[in-house]
């Protein structure tokens, strides 16, 4: 199968990305017809995966990959088993039709090429998620789906609602992704493996470990946010701001199932424990109920579908959580069914929207004449969604009831009840979406209703028919897709035998009938139910969606508050904090080691030495006390002078020399500058501030002095100086060791030092010379145009 040494699977993964790059160019040339060309890519990928079906159903697994980052054990590796094959086929197969549908839906849109690009990018990322074997690779594709989803949701970017939905999706799924990252990293750390396939082979190693719960929670954090589980469900309905192809593809058929995929993938490691079977059904069930209840409440068809998607995802999570073989089978079947019917229904709603200009279910009716094809496929798809035979949805529902109805435990009863209520409500929505707009009296719509182009109906047609065919050929479907995938999830071979017609009249059939009856009852009382739910929601008055806004605003406000406290803008405060930190920095080690330097008897200084110290101190005090800047400058001279003399007393003539020069020049420059500076004698500080500053000054001086004392009381290593003394004259031909150090032993220091001096000169020149920015700039900009250097102002005299 190798193609130039590269496995075709890698090409299949890469192909959408390549196509994404090409898309804008194609769209520029072919406009919406580029869809035909671009759809070939997913179609070919789909075709490629059909090649695996036989082998996979025979129980084979493939790990294919190439080294990516050997140093960090990251491989560009993929794992093909029943689970990934079905997902990959759904993604590529539905993807092909979505590309076509996009061409029709966004015909004439100026950014169509970009749209294709994003869709294909997403497709590639999603393929990556379900195929990836390496945990890091998996995560990367996971995050890429979040990113592309962000771009697609915000496609109508001028609308604030779109932008909000986009960033909301990014925040929730991206945030969840970060949690997942931690989980995956820990998983890899604990298992010692980087490849999912290798971890799966280790089987139950984690279930008794202390790491089990933390890692599980982290992974659930990723999965629940991505798959819109309550209470993170709110982003998904908002994501409906995206163009319909996006909703159909990302937010029902594929991306939102990534979380479910992940749960199914890690099921062998985490599944079938008490924790697993408690948490997942709990959240899944809650999501199912919340989703369906909120769906019923809507009148926007797209939103109705969106909420039922939430509900379906809840159902899938719930089933995965139950962990029994039947439940897993049910989950797989329902996943397949849902992808087909929901993708189709979204496209149908899009077509209605496209054809009539509205999506409000109360504002359309009797469209079947105008849109016969659309109606047909809508009918087929919703039949499946309603769970009625002979659609795949029916089989799925039967199996899932088998899975839930293990009536040995009370909580399974509860779960089943939830499933029944949920399914009944989905039945209601299915009919509300499929029949209400098409049947009944014709209602005037913003646009005159018309059938869509083939680009628009091909997708619904294919998906809904697929649903039908899959159900009719139930056995084959089961053999080729359901059993391999369920086996992969269970991590051991299952024997599945699917039939369209139930072989035995058992509890599931009864439950199905209950579901339908309940559904019909609710459908007939839809308006009342809607009002009831609306009333309840109004009385609650809050939901996670508002919570999101509040959280974001809260974060921003908190940030502004904290930042205002930290970066408060007053220089004096900045300095105070800095000095306080310095004092602490020095005090703590002294205190922690409890090593205070010893104070010897009075140091033996000569009288004149004392007097020079005294002069230094008097100079300092004079600077501190100076009534005004002038006096301070002169006093500054005293201490500098004293320091120079100190250097001289301790055998440092070069230093003394330099200190005299530098001090004098400092004072001179200070005087030059001061001529124009206002020298108000005030010290702006309040008394309390002065006390604080004085405290900091005294403690700061003390800790520095003490540290220095402590340092100098350690035996000194004068190796370096001995070396310098020894070779200064002999090799470096200089008798002044200090100067030899400066220009030879440590000449590079001096090189840097003169760089400092040079730059200082230039910087000061810039400071002084660039005076009126506006005027000068205008002048020079003009000069730029005519390409002649402007004459030097002022300094031109010299040259």
């Amino acid at each position: 199968m190798a193609l130039g040494g590269v496995d075709p699977l890698l090409i299949a993964v890469a192909a959408p990305f390549v196509a994404a790059v090409a898309a804008p160019f194609l769209a520029r040339i072919l406009h919406h017809n580029a869809a035909w060309l671009l759809a070939i890519v997913p179609a070919l990928i789909f075709y490629h995966f059909t090649g695996y079906v036989a082998d996979v159903s025979a129980g084979q697994r493939f790990a294919i990959g190439t080294d990516w980052i050997p140093t960090y054990s990251v491989r560009f590796s993929f794992y093909i088993d029943g689970l990934s094959t079905l997902f990959a086929m759904l993604i590529s197969g539905i993807g092909a039709f979505i590309v076509l549908y996009s061409g029709g839906y966004l015909k004439g849109h100026p950014d169509l090429g970009r749209f294709f690009s994003f869709i294909l990018l997403f497709m590639g990322s999603m393929m990556g998620v379900v195929l990836a074997d390496n945990l890091i690779t998996l995560f990367i594709f996971w995050e890429l789906t979040s990113i592309t989803s962000f771009l697609l949701i915000g496609f109508n970017h001028k609308s604030e609602r779109s932008r909000r939905a986009a960033i909301q999706a990014l925040v929730v799924t991206g945030g969840g992704g970060l949690v997942l990252l931690a989980g995956l990293l820990l998983l890899s750390y604990v298992s010692g493996q980087t490849e999912m396939s290798a971890i799966l082979q280790q089987g139950n190693f984690l279930k008794d470990s202390d790491w089990y719960l933390p890692i599980l929670i982290l992974i659930l954090g990723g999965a629940f946010t991505k798959s819109a589980q309550f209470p993170f469900h709110f982003w998904l309905p908002n994501a409906m701001e995206a163009p319909t192809p996006v909703s159909a593809y990302l937010h029902s058929a594929t991306m939102v199932k990534a979380g479910v995929y992940l749960l199914m993938r890690v099921h062998p490691i985490f599944g079938d424990t008490a924790i697993w079977s408690t948490i997942l059904p709990l959240f899944g069930g809650a999501t199912l109920l919340v989703g369906t209840i909120l769906a019923v409440r809507q009148t926007d068809m797209k939103l109705m579908l969106a909420y039922t998607t939430v509900a379906s995802l809840g159902l899938l999570v719930m089933l995965t959580g139950i962990s029994t073989e039947k439940a897993i089978e049910g989950a797989v079947l329902y996943l397949l069914a849902h992808s087909l019917f929901k993708g189709a229904l979204f496209m149908v709603v899009g077509t209605i929207d496209h054809g009539t200009g509205t999506r409000d279910v109360t504002k359309v009716g009797g469209l079947w004449r105008a849109m016969p094809l659309t109606f047909t496929f809508a009918f087929l798809a919703s039949w499946s969604m309603a769970g009625l035979p002979p659609a795949i949805g029916f089989i799925a529902k039967e199996i899932l009831y088998e899975g839930t109805w293990v009536a040995d435990q009370w909580h399974n009863v509860l779960i089943t009840a939830v499933a029944v209520v949920g399914n009944a409500l989905m039945f209601v929505i299915a009919f509300a979406v499929a029949f209400k707009p098409f049947l009944g009296a014709k209602v005037e719509t913003p646009k005159t209703a018309h059938e869509g182009s083939p680009l628009l109906w091909l997708g619904p047609a294919a998906l809904s028919v697929c649903g039908l065919v899959a159900a009719i050929m139930a056995h084959t479907t089961g053999e080729l897709f359901i059993r391999p995938m369920a086996s992969a999830i269970a991590n051991h071979p299952l024997d599945t035998d699917l039939h369209l017609v139930p072989t035995q009249w058992k509890a599931p059939v009864n439950l199905s009938i209950t579901t339908v009856v309940l559904g019909i009852v609710i459908y007939l009382n839809l308006d009342r139910v809607r009002k009831l739910i609306a009333g309840i929601l109004t009385s609650i008055g809050w939901g996670p969606d508002q919570g999101f806004d509040q959280a974001i605003r809260g974060i921003v406000r908190l940030s502004a508050f904290v930042t205002g406290k930290i970066q408060f803008g007053r220089m004096e405060g900045y300095m105070t904090v800095t000095i306080a930190v310095m004092v602490l920095t020095l005090f703590v080690p002294l205190y922690a080691f409890n090593e205070w330097p010893t104070m010897p008897e009075m140091p033996d200084f000569a009288f004149y030495e004392w007097s020079i110290f005294a002069i230094a101190v008097v100079g300092l005090i004079a600077v501190l006390m100076a009534a005004n800047g002038l006096v301070a400058i002169v006093s500054l001279g005293i201490q500098g002078f004293a320091v120079a003399l100190i250097f001289m007393l301790f055998g440092a003539p070069d230093l003394s020399f330099t200190q005299f020069m530098v001090e004098t020049l400092s004072v001179v420059i200070l005087a030059l500058v001061m001529t124009r500076l206002n020298l108000a004698p005030r010290d702006h500080r309040r008394r309390s501030q002065k006390i604080l500053d004085g405290f900091l000054a005294i403690t700061g001086g003390s800790v520095l002095g003490l540290t220095l004392m402590a340092v100098t009381q350690v035996q000194f290593n004068d190796e370096l100086s001995v070396f310098f003394n020894e070779y200064s004259r002999v090799i470096a031909h200089g008798r002044n060791v200090v100067n030899v150090i400066l220009v030879d032993f440590r000449g590079v220091d001096t090189l840097g030092e003169i760089a400092v001096v040079m730059v200082t000169g230039l910087a000061v020149l810039a400071l002084i010379r660039i005076t009126t920015p506006k005027a000068v700039e205008e002048e020079t900009e003009k000069a730029d145009v005519i390409k002649t250097p402007i004459p030097e102002q002022k300094e031109g005299v010299a040259s």
């Binding site: 004096e572 140091p603 003539p653 500058v673 702006h684 900091l696 520095l704 008798r735």
Partner: protein, 125 residues
């Protein structure tokens, strides 16, 4: 000797910190000038002290006289003096220009870069 000088250096540091903590720009600059001296003395003392004999090799010798001062800290301090002098000159002129342009010598009133009324971050999308 080092102990005695350490005390003096501590006083230098204390004075300079007190000045640097001022609001008046010129006092801050004075503090900076003094802290430069304090640090130089600190490095000088760190290399241990000896009296009066400079590290200069007499004409008829190959090495400096016994008990001569440690030359390395002197070289370090020289470099540091030059650098701190440069920085001081720059800071001085900068302070002067800031005073000219901003019309105040109180650093707490220099609030152009970080105005007191920071705009609130937008809350929409």
């Amino acid at each position: 000797m080092e102990v005695g000088l350490s005390v003096l250096i501590g006083i230098f540091f204390a004075a300079s910190i007190y000045l640097i903590l001022s609001k008046q720009i010129i006092r801050i600059l004075l503090g900076i000038a003094i802290i430069g001296n304090a640090v130089n003395l600190l490095i000088f003392t760190s290399g241990r002290l000896s009296r009066e004999i400079p590290p200069i090799i007499p004409l008829d010798q190959d090495v400096p006289a016994l008990g001569s001062a440690n030359p390395l800290p002197q070289a370090l301090v020289l470099t540091a003096i030059v650098i701190s002098f440069s920085l001081f000159a720059f800071l001085l002129v900068l302070a002067f220009r800031a005073y000219q342009e901003l019309g105040t010598d109180n650093v707490d009133e220099m609030r152009v870069a970080e105005p007191a009324d920071q705009p609130k971050p937008p809350m929409g999308y």
